[in-house]
Symmetry: C2
Subunit: 264 residues, 2 copies
């Protein structure tokens, strides 16, 4: 069975894209078959995986607007076991375009349901994991991801403003769970850009663990410049520099995610 | 005359809120009368100025939905010459609520026009500057800010992904200028979170100056942990630690902004 995880947080710049790319690569490296669905109009996950804007024929916009299937839109990356459905700037218009549509929250869920049928007929590739990289907002595109997902993985930057948004995010997850997707759960919260040189990181980490307990992964992603250099080469950190502290942390996160999936 | 500046960039976490709060405080410190309009549902600018969520009676949501005037919603901060109109989580619903409204892009512009009339009658405070802190998206709320503003100030984090979004942002500014607000211009681009220890910051800074020339401020805001600690005390960095490198940079940015305004 495919496990669908939405990587979401409406606070900007907390490491959603970086986590989606590097967690997906780490899972693929240990033999899981993975698809990244980039639904952010910025298209950072697509670029970070080496898919230039000019080469994006079918995109997640076409999938959401029901003009392409997942199988048609998915393209290979240079990483074995990892495919991506790139984003498009047209995603910025989805909120207005779907304003009248009755099933506006279910477009992605329905596309994934059709994909499961295609797989069962042998017309499409099975994925063990589908990671959805969300934009920094709680708009209809992110709601589509939460409605289609089995679980939400929340990257949380070790900064004060990032803490402030957590309550609003949790409330939105509860709303989606209550009305659109009763099976939705929190896969976990991963602390990102942790800087042991500064107290603020420690305070935020302690605060989050006190409130959310074992929902917070043991793995903490350190601030590591190699991680932010990698996308300019169109590569995940794991390919750019697998020995750096950031890459090592994402490998640990992957094994923790797999551990949680096994003991679910 | 009031100068209205939208602080905008759809890339998340680039320093929009931090720039709005600290530039506003620096302008207020040199005697300019300033209002910050927080239109991001996250409400980080409101919190960073010490306005707790529980004490926000009238908000920018009420102003956009035409239920309160600017004068009614503005409240004082602990900083002389600086007022704020706080945000509300209800802002997240504006896109859907205004989907049918004919004048959906002009709500803020019209509210500011009414404020000018109130000021001329002596019923409201005149502001030299109004800074609008925008959410990380190009939705109807940000379009409202660009339609109401005289100019856009763009914080740009010295990171690869931040560069990628610049073209889309510039295209949006041109679209707004072409149809909704012909007077709109770019006030300037400020490089933020510059870290001289890492090459990436230098490369991004050089790249941006090559493409955008003197649209980029000479002042560069360094990465400085004191800047990110300040909001947890409800204070701008200038109040929390006026000697730190971040605060000094924002004072320099304020004098550069004033210089540009004088020679416009
Ligand atoms: N562990 C890390 N160490 C250093 N830099 C990092 C790390 N994680 C992410 N970054 C950098 O921080 C910036 C923000 O990260 P990223 O773009 O992944 O966040 P995001 O939540 O996807 O942003 P948005 O809200 O715009 O979608 C990027 O420039 C990225 O390269
Ligand atoms: N010069 C700086 N040095 C260190 N940290 C900074 C600096 N500027 C901003 N920060 C921190 O970086 C994070 C992102 O900044 P900020 O929240 O201002 O960005 P934003 O663009 O408003 O984010 P969003 O897209 O979510 O609205 C915050 O935690 C902030 O405290
Ligand atoms: Mg992202
Ligand atoms: Mg902000």
């Amino acid at each position: 069975k495919t496990r669908v995880i939405a990587v979401a947080n409406q606070k900007g710049g907390v490491g959603k894209t970086t986590t989606a790319i590097n967690l997906a690569t780490a899972l693929a490296a240990v033999g899981e078959s993975v698809l990244i669905l980039d639904i952010d109009a910025q298209g950072n996950a697509s670029t970070g995986l080496g898919v230039a804007a000019s080469s994006r024929k079918l995109t997640s916009y076409d999938v959401i607007m029901d003009e392409a299937s997942l199988a048609e839109a998915a393209i290979a990356t240079r990483i074995p076991n990892l495919s991506v459905i790139p984003a498009s700037v047209d995603l910025a218009g989805v909120e207005t375009e779907l304003a009248q549509a009755v099933n506006r929250a279910f477009r992605l869920r329905d596309a994934l349901a059709r994909h499961r049928v295609d797989v069962s007929r042998g017309d499409a590739t099975h994925y063990d994991f589908i990671l959805i990289d969300c934009p920094p907002s709680l708009n209809v595109v992110t709601i589509n991801a939460m409605t289609a997902a089995d679980a939400v993985l929340v990257p949380l930057q070790c900064e004060f403003f990032a803490l402030e948004g957590l309550t609003q995010l949790m409330r939105t997850v509860d709303l989606v769970k209550g009305s659109l997707n009763p099976a939705l759960e929190i896969q976990g919260i991963v602390l990102t850009m942790y800087d042991q040189r500064n107290n603020l990181s420690d305070q935020v980490a302690m605060d989050v663990r006190t409130h959310l307990g074992d929902k917070v992964y043991a793995t903490v992603i350190p601030r590591n410049v190699r991680v932010s250099e990698a996308p300019s080469f169109g590569k995940p950190a794991l390919l750019y520099d697998h020995k750096c502290s950031g890459s090592q942390a994402y490998m640990r996160l992957a094994s923790e995610v797999l551990q949680r999936e096994r003991t679910r």
